[in-house]
Amino acid sequence: MSRKILLDKINVPGIKSYEVYRANGGYASVEKALKTLTPDEVVEEVKTSGLRGRGGAGFPAGMKWSFIDKKSGKPRHLVCNADESEPGTFKDRFLMEYIPHLLIEGMITSSYALGANLSYIYIRGEYMWVFKILEKAINEARAAGWLGKNILGTGYDLDLYVHCGAGAYICGEETALIESLEGKRGNPRIKPPFPAVSGLWANPTVVNNVETIAAVPWIVNNGGAEYAKIGIGRSTGTKLISASGHIKNPGVYEIELGLSVDEFMNSDEYLGGMSSDRPLKAFVPGGSSVPILPANLIFKTANGEDRLMTYESLSDGGFATGSMLGSGGFIVYNDTACIVRNTWNFSRFYHHESCGQCSPCREGTGWLEKVLHRIETGYGREEDIDLLWSIQAKIEGNTICPLGDAAAWPVAAAIRHFRDEFEYHVRFPEKIKNRDHFVEEPFEKVKHLVGKATV
């Protein structure tokens, strides 16, 4: 049984309400931080914990906090990135919906650490019901004296607002989020300057994911060193994983980083193995933007070591043999899944969500989607596979923000690991057109037609 930090009180009846949350030790970290610790000491605890950003990039949170410009004399802000929109990732929604006061508590403690007197939770537009839950929680916290002027008589003031986005994936990118929060079109800014120097209204700003901020109360209550004991190496603490696909038990899980992928996939405590007892074909470990891996690279790394649920193990060997932990959107495919269709589906999403500001992303994501659509519907040409490879390579690394990379990586990985499936699509278009392919006849059974082994 893994240790629970974020979800340990999730089963307490009524934990969503302030009274129950408080009665179960809620807001203790605010009391401890404001009354016994200086802001710098809180930052040090987070640094010691080794907590890495849970939004996808995995940048050390404490280090990010330490970058904030304290000498400028300008107001500082903490912005919570609750614009969770990546296909396959739905962990923040769970946290906010079922234990909203944990996030509020984390926001207050973290804002204190950063010296922020005005903080925001920027939430995805489609999460309107969660928006209402958070608003209610904020009002409860304000009424109980955890927000507003002179909190706990310490002289610290904090206003906290929840702001609803208009439903754009790009607003999950921190600078686009800030633009949107300022009331502008959600286009990413050119970095540098980074938000820690010039963020919201040109003030020093830290943008952190919901799960990252929600981990702060436990770190303050128990100490950063205690948190660092959980997990392995530089992957400390616990991580929420949102699991979906062809598995017995889809849902949101809190795991200790370092758990083996095998145990996570197959034990009854977690995913319970494959649904319908069909063989495993592929998985995406960290949301739709990270590279997909074939079955032979799921449980073991290329070196033959056990694949672990850590930042390092999942990315072992680079993209040739690894992927990324990302935001923890764990998607599992059985042998009936069509990788081409799946890639087209992801590509459709990134095409739709590109902000259109920079040329490679604006034009490239559309091109990728159109070529994939042709291949998937049986109108592909043999040269289209190399064309796809070429287009994704031209997008990757050349865009303003990582959305270009997010659009390119799934295509690259799909071709790298499942090229024969693409070739099957372009060589046997009639088979593709005439049936819901791979459901009745999984690709493994028709693979010999391609006449070429998997690359």
């Binding site: 920079c358 034009e363 050349n398």
Partner: protein, 347 residues
């Protein structure tokens, strides 16, 4: 600070970007720029044409930058070494951007009013390919009338955001901007409003392609048939310094004065641009100078042309004279006696 670009070093002030430093050096190392416009704050970084390779970050931190960087928004560091023309990665990236930009841009140069002074045309000439790999349908938009002076051809727009920045920074009450997202995004006015602001004409000058065109000039002439002259007038709204584009004695178009990178020296008002097409309205200063190779430069000479004296035997020139007479026929009346000799077939 010392910066080296393609092996050429230059001293620059702190805050100088790589593109600005390259422009100080000049020549082939200057990266192309479709969205950067030195006169507009916040421009640059979007088109990705000006990507360069930083092979050495600075003397303090000599590590190379892993990704190519947009030179127009990346500041120089002391000791920085940059590869622009000298880098294959950079050349490949520019080719890629050119290909991406041409995906949805119609190749209607033969009818486009921007032909001859189109930055995308120049970019394509240097970095483009003769064939396209894009077989899908291009995006299309209905032409849009966005005011009394400007015609919008959205099909040609490459979303450089320059016109939006002009409207933001030069005009009051901006009524147009970018709507929609991704490759659906387009420039339009908000709920069919007309752009009437006194400085809106500058949107035409900053547009690097033929998306925004001058209604008073459209289809009057190809630009290379016009003779551009610097001219000025007393104007209470702007500096009054312009370039007038003449066909014979007729002023067909008025634009801001542009430098070698196609960027205006000063923005001008709509009255100067659209309402003064009479030669008497202007003090003509002299021919506009060109620094950059472009089709627009054809047939334009800024140097004084001295008559050529042909030093040769007169007898040899006599044959040429005879040819001239034959070719001229009725166009040049022959002298008395010549006509007679011509009629008799003696010439």
């Amino acid at each position: 600070m010392k910066v080296t670009i393609d092996g050429q070093s230059i001293e620059v002030e702190p805050g100088t970007t790589i593109l600005q430093a390259a422009r100080m050096i000049g020549g082939e190392s200057v990266p192309p720029a479709m969205c950067y416009y030195s006169k507009l704050k916040g421009s640059g970084g979007k088109c990705r044409c000006c990507l360069v390779e930083v092979s050495k970050g600075s003397d303090a931190d000599p590590r190379p930058m892993p990704k190519l960087v947009a030179s127009c928004v990346t500041g120089c560091m002391d000791g920085m070494e940059v590869n622009s023309t000298a880098s294959e990665r950079v050349q490949e990236a520019r080719k890629s951007v050119t290909e991406f930009l041409l995906i949805n841009h119609p190749l209607d140069c033969p009818v486009c009013d921007q032909a001859g002074e189109c930055d995308l045309q120049n970019l394509s000439f240097k970095h483009g390919k003769s064939q396209t790999r894009y077989i899908e349908e291009k995006r299309t938009f209905a032409p849009e009338d966005i005011g009394p002076n400007i015609q919008l051809h959205m099909n040609r727009c490459i979303l450089c955001y320059r016109c939006v920045m002009v409207a933001d920074q030069l005009t009051d009450g901006r009524v147009h901007g970018v709507v929609d997202r991704g490759d659906h995004s387009n420039i339009s006015t908000c709920i069919s409003k007309a752009i009437t602001n006194e400085f809106s004409g500058n949107m035409i000058d900053v547009c690097p392609v033929g998306a925004l065109t001058d209604k008073t000039f459209r289809f009057k002439s190809r630009v290379w048939f016009n003779k551009p002259f610097n001219a000025h007038r007393n104007c209470d709204k702007c500096c009054g310094k312009v370039t007038v584009w003449m066909f014979g004695n007729e002023i067909q178009r008025v634009t801001g004065r542009k430098d070698e990178y196609h960027e205006v020296e000063e923005f001008i008002c709509n009255e100067c641009r659209f309402d003064h097409k009479d030669v008497k309205d202007w003090v003509i200063e002299g021919p506009r100078k060109f620094e950059k190779d472009s089709v627009i430069n054809q047939n334009n000479y800024t140097r004084k042309i001295a008559p050529v004296v042909i030093e040769t035997e007169e007898a040899i020139l006599k044959g040429r004279e005879q040819d001239r007479l034959k070719i001229s026929m009725a166009a040049i009346p022959l002298k008395a006696g010549e006509q007679e000799a011509f009629n008799e077939g003696n010439v």
